[in-house]
C-alpha cells in the first residue's frame, strides 16, 4: 500500500484507491506533483502525510511546469524516476490548461493524471469547464447549460505519444494504461473519471457502480491513443453497437446532480452520446 488509509478523503471517494493503483505500477521512485485540489487535503498537513513517495504541492496553474523542472533536474543527476502530475479537472482543463498545453507541446517526459470529478469539489461543488451538460452545481443551480470540455482530445491534438481515458471501476484497464505510459518517453496523459459522492449527490456506497455505469452507457468511453492511433479498450470495445450500451438515463438517475434534467434534456444528452459513438466507429 503506497497511500496510508485513514487519510482525509471523504467516504466513498475513489481518489486514494486511484493514487494507490497508480503507485502500485510506477513504484517507489515516483514524484507526485499536486496542484490545488481535493488531493491537496488528502495528502495531509504538517502533522504528517499518507504518501510513501515524495509529494510536491503546487499552485493551481503550475503543476506541469513544476513537473518539467523536477524531471530536468533528475535527468541532470541521471536519476531515473517517474514524475507524475496528479491534478483535478479544474487544475487541468481550466486554470491549468496553458501550463498543460505548454508541457504537452514541449513533449516533456512526464506523466499527467487528471482525476476528473467534474467540478471544483474541494471548494464545495462549483462548476468547472469539465462539468457535464445538465449537472447541478452550487454555481449552476438549475443545471449547466454548456457541454463538457473535451480535454483528452485537446491533449491528443498536441501529438503527444500517449493519451488514454480510464475508470476506477476498470482498475486492470487503468493499471495497464499506467504501465504502458510508464514505459513511454515523452508526455503521457491519462484522464480518469472520478465519481464524487457529495458533489454528484449519490450514496457513498455507489461509487464503483456509478463509475461502471458511466462506461456501460457510453458516456465515458475507455480508449487509448498511442502514437496517434486510437483504440477502444476493456468493456468499451464491445459498445460500438448501440444496443449493447445502456441508456444514459440509468447513469443519470442515480445521481442527485442530474435530478432537474427534463426528459428533453436527457434525450439531447443521449443523442450527443450516440453521435460521439458514431464518430468513434469511423475512427476505430
Amino acid at each position: 500500500m503506497m497511500l496510508m488509509r485513514g487519510n482525509a478523503a471523504c467516504p466513498g471517494c475513489p481518489i486514494p484507491r486511484e493514487i494507490d493503483a497508480l503507485l502500485e505500477v510506477t513504484g517507489q521512485k515516483t514524484v507526485l506533483v499536486v496542484p490545488a485540489s481535493c488531493t491537496s487535503v488528502i495528502m495531509g498537513d504538517t502533522n504528517g502525510m499518507p504518501s510513501s513517495v515524495p509529494v510536491v504541492h503546487s499552485a493551481f496553474a503550475a503543476a506541469p511546469a513544476i513537473a518539467s523542472g523536477i524531471k530536468a533536474a533528475l535527468n541532470s543527476k541521471k536519476e531515473d524516476a517517474t514524475v507524475v502530475v496528479w491534478a483535478g479537472d479544474g487544475g487541468t482543463g481550466d486554470i491549468g490548461l496553458a501550463s498543460l498545453s505548454g508541457a504537452a507541446e514541449r513533449n516533456e517526459d512526464i506523466m499527467y493524471l487528471c482525476y476528473d470529478n467534474e467540478a471544483y469539489m474541494n471548494t464545495g461543488v462549483q462548476r468547472s469547464g469539465l462539468t457535464p451538460y445538465g449537472a447541478w452545481t452550487t454555481t449552476t443551480p438549475e443545471g449547466k447549460r454548456e457541454r463538457k470540455k473535451p480535454i483528452p482530445q485537446i491533449v491528443a491534438e498536441h501529438g503527444v505519444p500517449y493519451v488514454a481515458t480510464a475508470s476506477i471501476a476498470y482498475i486492470f484497464d487503468y493499471q495497464a494504461k499506467v504501465k504502458k505510459a510508464k514505459e513511454i518517453q515523452g508526455f503521457r496523459y491519462i484522464h480518469l473519471l472520478s465519481p464524487c459522492p457529495p458533489g454528484w449527490r449519490f450514496d457513498s456506497s455507489l461509487t464503483i457502480r456509478i463509475a461502471k455505469l458511466a462506461v456501460e452507457t457510453g458516456i465515458w468511453p475507455l480508449y487509448e491513443i498511442e502514437k496517434g492511433k486510437f483504440r477502444l479498450t476493456s468493456l468499451s470495445k464491445t459498445l460500438i453497437d448501440k444496443s449493447k450500451r445502456k441508456p444514459v438515463l440509468e447513469y443519470l438517475k442515480l445521481q442527485g446532480r442530474f435530478s432537474k434534467m427534463t426528459s428533453e434534456e436527457v434525450k439531447k444528452l443521449q443523442n450527443e452520446v450516440d453521435e460521439f459513438w458514431e464518430e468513434i466507429q469511423k475512427i476505430d
Binding site: 506533483v33 487535503v41 499552485a59 523542472g69
Partner: protein, 384 residues
Amino acid sequence: MQVESKVIKGLVGNHAVAYAVKQAKPQVLAVYPITPQTTMLEKLSEYVESGELKAKMIRVESEHSALAAVYGAALAGSRVFTATASQGLLYMTEMIYWAGGQRVPIVAAVATRAIASPWSILDDHHDFVSKRDAIWIQLMAENVQEAYDLTIQAFKISEDKRVLLPVMMGFDGFILTHTLEKVELLPDNVVDAFIPPRDFNLIDFSDPLGIGQVASPEDYIYYRYEAQRSMERSREVITEVERDYEDITGRKYGLIDCYMCDDAEYIIVSMGAWSGDARVAVQKEREKGIRAGLLKVRTFRPFPKDEVKQIVGKSRGVVVFDRSVSYGSGGVLANEVKSASYGLDVPIHSVIAGLGGKDVRPLHMEKVLDDLALNQLEDERWLL
C-alpha cells in the same frame, strides 16, 4: 588574493548577466521572453545550444511556468536561473511567493520596467519593489559591472545554508540591459571556486517529503518566523560574500554604498542606475560649496535599516529619489528610509521621478539638492 588575469570586455547589461549565469553553471533554466530582458534569453539560448553552458533550457509558455519550472528543478537539486521584467514579474507573482515560502535557492534577474496600463516598455522600479514581501533577497545594481558581479554573488548568497532564500537581482531596463559598458570578467575557474557545487535537494525517494503541504496554524506562523530570521541572518552572509568578492576583484560592495557621506549635510538616497547621475549631482553640489552625499541602497531586502539610520542621523536633511510609488502612501524607498530613521529628528523628503522611462539627469537632482539646502523642498515632489 586578487585575480591577476583580468578579462575586460565591452558588454551590454543583458549579455554581462548572461555571461555571469554561464559561469555559475546552473543545470536548469526556464525563461519566457519579455522586453527588455529578451537579449539575455537569446544569449543564454546560444550558450546552451553551443554546449558552452551544459544546462537544460525549458522554453516555457509563460512567466508563471518559468518560475514554476525552476522551482521544481531547484527542489530536485539543480542550480537554477530565470529572468523577467514588468508584466512578466507580475504574472510570476504567485510562484514568486510560492518559492519564497519554501525558501528554495533560485536566482532571478529582473530587468526593471514600468507596469501597464498604460503600456510602457521603459524603466521604473514598480515591478521590482512590488515583490518586497515575497521572502526574496533583493539586490539592485547600479551599472553593468555591478549587474555581473551581483549575479555571481546571488548564487552564493542564495545557496548559503544559513540563508536558503531565492535572490532577485534588479537592474534598470534599457538603461543597463541595453547599454554597452566596460566589464571586468572573472576567469571561469575563479567563479567555480567562488561558488561551490550546490548541496540542496528535497526530493529524496528514501525519505519522501510533502513539500508545500497544508500547514496547521501552529506551523504556518513558524514557517514565516523562520523566513524572517533567515532574512536577518542573510545580512551577515551578504556582507561576508561581498567581502570575499572584494578580496578577489578589489571591488567593494556592501548593503549600502556611500559616496561623500562622511561630512555630508544633505543626503540623496537612491537605488539602481541613476545612482550614477546622483554621484555627478553630488560632485556639482560640492563644487558649489554644498556638502552633499549619496547613499545608495544596494540591498532592498533585507533592508539595511541600521546602515541607513546611521547615515541619515549624521545629516541635516535627506531626499529620497524613487522610481516607484505606493499610491496613497508615498515613494516606496522613501517610506523605507523614513521607517529606518524612526526617532531621528531629520527631515526626509521624497522625490518621485523617472516613472515609465521619463528622463532624469544630474541637473534635475542638483536642483532638488539646492532646494533641500535652501529649505525649499516640499515633503513630496514629482518631477513631471
